[in-house]
Symmetry: C2
Subunit: 189 residues, 2 copies
């Protein structure tokens, strides 16, 4: 009996992400999304009864995209830890507004970054680190945390346009921090 929907939930979420990407999270509202889809505001209100609900799902969608983005590196060629860090930074540079949007979120992935147990895909990486650098589980977690703070710091500055993105500069910093922290740990023993 029902007409088939022209506007799907997914189309709305896509339009929302695109809007944030182009004009920033402040520009997010029902009418603008509708305009992007060339429809009225009704389909949007129909699929998401409250705008806040749409926003929450946009956080989830942006976070999923972010996660996927992070993992696009060559595990044969690159050290996973540094490669993920550099992807994290590149994301902030290339998807500035999405990164800023994500930072506002309560569900922000970085929350999980610190509790490694919540990110199963990182477990093998930490094991490699432990084995290669001969660290304890505790130490490798702490080394990861320190690196993550530097990574997030650079990313955050990039997303707010206070530094330029220079991949070789960034990886230099990351390597310095990472190797330095590991060296410091081993020196303390």
């Amino acid at each position: 009996m029902p007409p088939k929907a022209k506007i799907t939930r997914e189309m709305i979420l896509d339009a929302g992400l695109e809007l944030i990407r182009q004009e920033g999270a402040d520009a997010l509202n029902v009418r603008r999304i509708a305009a992007k889809l060339q429809c009225s505001t009704q389909p949007v209100m129909y699929h998401f009864s409250k705008t806040e609900e749409l926003k929450q799902e946009l956080y989830i969608a942006a976070d999923a995209y972010h996660s996927e983005y992070l993992m696009q590196f060559d595990p044969e060629k690159d050290d996973p830890m540094l490669a993920i860090g550099l992807r994290y930074i590149r994301f902030a540079a290339e998807e500035r507004e999405l990164f800023r949007f994500l930072m506002q979120s309560e569900h922000f992935r970085s929350q999980r970054m610190q509790d490694m147990t919540a990110m199963p895909e990182l477990a093998p990486i930490l094991e490699i680190l432990q084995a290669e650098a001969q660290l304890t589980a505790q130490q490798s977690k702490q080394a990861f945390a320190s690196l993550f703070y530097a990574v997030h710091g650079m990313a955050s500055l990039l997303a707010n346009n206070t530094i330029e993105f220079d991949p070789s500069y960034c990886s230099g910093i990351l390597e310095q921090v990472f190797m330095g922290v590991i060296g410091f740990m081993k020196g303390e023993e």
Copy 2:
């Protein structure tokens, strides 16, 4: 001929900062500031013909407060580099909304943090670093940069409530990064 102004520019700026502190930068608008000062919107529009102008001056005021905040440590007792870093982090924890507001600003101090020549008060600190750790000027700048990224990363995560503020944990991380980076530099020679 003129009656003396009841509402001064400074009162407006103070009310604005207090508003951001309490309710976040999104709550900033002419009517709310007026309410805080128990006056109409006119005095605000009188002193700042456009709201954007007021916002710009609030950035400057917040930045000045931030700078002042950073320097409140005991130079006899604490290592300046680490102490300033810890103050930076503490600011993000205690003045969460002000930090988030500042991060939006184009004038954000961190811009200057990377170009040390723009922060004359840091010059003596860098000199001490060079002397004590026996680094070149270039190296000490780079060590400072790495430390700053980690500091800003932690601060940013704190301001967005994704980690807890634990001073001893934070200074542990900072020391680790700082000593690590210096060690790494010297090991490379």
